[in-house]
Amino acid sequence: MPTDKPRTKYLRRLPLPYATALRLRDAGIADEVIAERVGVDLDALATFMRVAEAKLAAVAFEQPPT
């Protein structure tokens, strides 16, 4: 799990919907609002967030903090 500062940096490298969803979740926003904001069906949000986390982890792996 990346620490807060690099996390912000890595989020910029993600496709916008994933970055938005992760930022909203970090801010404690409810799932219904996140789903609506990123245009994903609420039923699909759990899988969506898993992909988002995986993509974030991949970016962090490729560009470790210096």
Partner: protein
């Protein structure tokens, strides 16, 4: 044309998909991939299908298309092309084609692990209903790993929506590619570095859409605007505003040579097309060019090779109802007609093409296609095609087919409207045929026996032997509906002894015999007769769909005699046999029907909450069709019964009230017993117990006159549960006539109640419980508690109380008059309690008097004495004391 497009930027998605396809035994394997057009769903799904499961798994790739959507099971044309005679087995045949079936019927299980099946379904939102139902079966029964793609914002068929909404499979919404991913992809495709500014412009222009990028890059490289300078790819294109994907695709196609556009148009009309058909309507060289431009895909594994559009958007932008497209449909339909196809789907496809073409309507083709649609069990399509055939001038033949489609959906009123019209237009043998169809509709679906009989009496000549066999079978059914079980058995047995060649006559006779034997209490004979009906349904396409009502009659025949084990076994068996059958042509009706028969079982066994839930579910499609009249009637009756058993008076009355309106035919006494049972439970829940007793006694007397001893037993048993002490002599007589466990249990119960014997009532309770009637068991135990208390046997009363508590819990909240009497302190006489209960529902003294058939003065007297007994000053106080206040 750039051929090699790698899959870039999707490794996390593929990891999630791989996990979903490895799900354990507790859930279905697979995933739904949704996303906007061109985002790359198909590519990801194809890679996932190729990569998941064991190496030797069977893999299938199914494609939904807008043009194939009008053809039932059109998406599975490559899987099952040779159908058997039974229309109810279509989905099963396709499933067998997909997953394979060993000789003993075990599906998809091979010791080498090669039994695993992976099915990719591309553009599942474009599947026809029957194909969608097939996919739903694959997922929910876990027969295969299924990877679906659905375009966001489209409305998929209900069965596909249910896969997502009921959480059978996870849903992954694919997102457009990010800037780094687009750059990576372009560099892979072009084989060299791309200037970062160009990459950004490409990303902004395409909004990360892979399809858009692919078309754009093809164009720009071919035009030389995308070129390598000093080893770096630069884009000189200067587009101002990016058009939508659809506009872009449209513009691009418009620039293609005319012959290539002709190929695309032909495929927009219908796909897939064999290369030889396509060659007849378009330039063969253009097909090669279209493929090289990446606009079509050719599958060379088939012979002849088949061609599809490379992406559904290519068809969407070309599909219009212009005269040119109508002509093209006509040319393709004509070309398809030259080939000798046996697949009913080809006939339907050709008819649908013709309808929207410049060709003159062909009544013969439309008629044949209507039958083909019936064979594919798409009754709605059959109806539409039949109406077209009538409009095209096909006349009576099409109308008869139309009637069949309506009858199979149990849409009795609609069928009668067409039949009445036909009756006026025909004479001779055709009129006889109409009369038989009409009588069938009247007797079986509409429950109007007088009209049915009139058709047979007036229109079927005595010397027409063939017609008389069917007429006789219909008369046996009319006997059943009228409650004449004895004559129904006689008539049906005579017909079946002659082994009639007419399958419908045979099946209707079996219907009559199964039901009437149950009503006579001759349940030992039911099984073999019903089995002969199932065998007939297996071999005869004409009556195959009737196995479903036969199964209901079979399970229901055991109810009055209390043979609940046999009834449940029948329900389980038909469920196994018809899991993949859309009843009356509808997936929803199938779901409702399964809930309906499960509701019968739950009611028989006194699982009240379960029965209520199932009966309500079985009515879920009431608003969506006109069919299933009998199913809805029974479900409402059972709802009223179980609500009454649970003491929910208002719910019980609400469910029961419409039934009286529906039962318009006074001669249809065959249905009265069940209605009387429901009505009695409604009254019992309202507190009018003496009225409940007199309803069941009157109904029992009617059953005695009709000669239906099994129903008489159940009615007298119900009266005994309500406290009627006088049923024993008749029940003892009936116990000798009626097979099954109910009659001896009810006789023992009645005798014990008359004798006031707590021990014997406990014994009767045990007998009821042994065969599964837990409400009756609870009532007999409750009556035992009262008997023990009267005899001063407090220990025995406490033991019996423990029994009723256990049974009431098992019954999920039973609240019958006997249970209330045994579990609440008794401050009033039975009559006083009854009158105060009715007063509690807001009835005036006069209304109470009318309801209980007594004088108003008597009602007032009972209320006065009750008030004195508990020192109450007002009506409200009396009611409050009754309710334990």
């Amino acid at each position: 044309m750039i051929r090699q497009w790698p899959l870039v930027g999707r490794s996390e998605e593929l990891a999630v998909i791989a996990e979903a396809t490895r799900a354990g035994a507790e859930r279905a394997r697979g995933i739904v991939l949704s996303g906007s057009a061109g985002v790359g769903k198909t590519r990801v799904a194809r890679d996932a299908v190729a990569g998941c499961g064991p190496r030797n798994a069977r893999r299938h790739w199914i494609i939904g298309t807008a043009s194939a959507r009008s053809v039932p099971l059109g998406a599975f044309a490559d899987i099952a092309s040779d159908f058997g005679p039974d229309p109810l087995r279509r989905v099963r045949e396709v499933i067998d084609g997909l997953i394979g079936t060993s000789r003993d019927g075990a599906r998809g299980e091979r010791s080498d692990g090669g039994g695993e099946v992976i099915v990719g379904v591309d553009d599942a939102h474009l599947l026809d209903d029957l194909s969608a139902f097939t996919v739903h079966q694959l997922v929910t029964r876990r027969l295969a790993t299924v990877i679906l793609t659905i375009r966001s914002g489209e409305q998929p068929p209900d069965a596909i929506t249910a896969i997502c909404k009921d959480h059978h499979l996870p849903n992954l919404e694919l997102q457009p590619l990010s800037l780094p991913e687009i750059k990576d992809l372009v560099e892979h495709v072009l084989g060299g570095p791309v200037h970062s500014l160009c990459a950004r412009r490409l990303w902004q222009y395409t909004e990360g859409n892979a399809l858009y990028l692919r078309h754009l890059l093809d164009d720009e490289v071919n035009a030389g605007r995308m070129a390598q300078r000093s080893g770096v790819w630069l884009w000189d294109g200067q587009p101002r505003l990016s058009p939508t994907l659809a506009e872009f695709v449209e513009t691009r196609i418009a620039r293609a040579p005319r012959p290539v556009r002709d190929v695309l148009d032909a495929l927009a009309v219908t796909e897939p097309l064999d290369t030889d058909v396509l060659a007849a309507v378009a330039d063969p060289d253009a097909l090669v060019e279209a493929e090289s431009l990446g606009l079509v895909r050719i599958d060379s594994r088939a012979r002849p090779a088949t061609v599809r559009l490379a992406h559904p958007m290519l068809g969407e932008v070309r599909r219009t109802n212009s005269l040119r497209m109508r002509r093209l449909r006509g040319r393709i339909a004509t070309e398809l007609a030259r080939r000798s196809e046996t697949d009913p789907r080809e006939l339907v496809r050709r008819a649908v093409l013709t309808v929207d073409s410049d060709l003159a309507p062909d009544p013969e083709l439309l008629n044949a296609a209507t039958w083909a649609a019936m064979q594919l069990l798409d009754l709605t399509l059959a109806e539409t095609l039949a109406e077209r055939a009538v409009t095209a001038g096909s006349g009576i033949e099409a109308k008869l087919t139309h009637v069949m489609a309506l009858t199979w959906q149990e849409r009795g009123q609609d069928a009668e409207a067409v039949l009445a019209e036909l009756a006026d237009q025909t004479s001779g043998p055709l009129r006889v045929q109409i009369a038989l169809l009409r009588a069938l509709n009247f007797a079986v679906i509409l429950g109007q026996t007088t009209s049915a009989e009139r058709e047979l009496d007036e229109e079927v000549p005595a010397e027409d032997d063939a017609a008389q066999v069917l007429a006789s079978a219909l008369r046996a059914l009319i006997d059943v509906v009228r409650g004449h079980a004895g004559s129904a058995v006689e008539r049906a047995s005579t017909i079946l002894a002659g082994t009639p060649a007419n399958d419908l006559a045979q099946m209707l006779s079996i219907f009559a015999l199964v039901q009437a034997l149950g009503e006579l209490g001759r349940i030992d004979e039911v099984e073999s007769v019903a089995n002969s009906g199932y065998r007939l349904a297996d071999r005869s396409a004409e009556v195959s769909h009737l196995r479903v009502p036969l199964a209901f009659l079979h399970a229901y025949a055991y109810r009055p005699a209390g043979a609940l084990t046999q009834s449940d076994a029948t329900i389980a068996s038909i469920r196994r046999d018809t899991l993949d059958v859309p009843f009356e042509g509808s997936w929803h009706v199938a779901e409702s029907w399964h809930a309906f028969v499960a509701g019968l079982s739950a009611m028989n066994r006194g699982s009240l909450a379960e029965a209520q839930r199932l009966c309500q579910e079985s009515l879920a499609d009431v608003g969506s069709d006109h069919g299933g009249r009998m199913r809805k009637r029974f479900a409402r009756l059972w709802l009223a019964t179980v609500a009454g058993m649970a003491g929910e008076a208002a719910d019980a009355r609400r469910e029961f009230t419409p039934i009286q309106r529906w039962d318009a035919d006074p001669d249809a006494r065959g249905w009265h017993a069940e209605r009387s049972i429901a009505q009695a439970w409604v009254c019992a829940a309202e507190g009018a117990v003496s009225q409940a007793v007199s309803i069941t006694r009157d109904a029992a007397n009617q059953e005695r006159r009709l000669g239906r001893p099994a129903w008489e037993v159940l009615l007298l048993q119900t009266a005994t549960q309500f406290g009627d002490h006088t049923t024993a002599p008749r029940l003892v007589e009936l116990a000798d006539q009626v097979q099954g466990p109910r009659a001896p249990a009810a006789a023992a119960h009645a005798a014990a109640l008359a004798a006031g014997s707590g021990d014997e009532l406990v014994g009767a309770s045990g007998q009821y419980e042994a065969f599964g009637d837990r409400v009756a068991a609870a009532d007999a135990a409750a009556q035992a508690v009262l008997a023990y208390r009267r005899a001063g046997l407090r220990g025995a009363a406490m033991n019996a109380s423990a029994t009723i508590q256990r049974l009431a819990t098992e019954c999920q909240g039973a609240q019958t008059p006997a249970l209330r009497a045994a579990t609440t302190p008794q401050k009033f006489t039975d009559r006083q309690r009854e009158i105060i209960s009715l007063a509690a529902q807001g009835l005036s003294n006069q209304e109470i008097a009318d309801r209980l058939a007594m004088s108003k003065r008597s009602v007032e007297g009972h209320l006065f004495r009750a008030s004195q007994r508990v020192a109450a000053n007002t009506r409200e106080q009396l009611i409050s004391i009754l309710h334990g206040g």
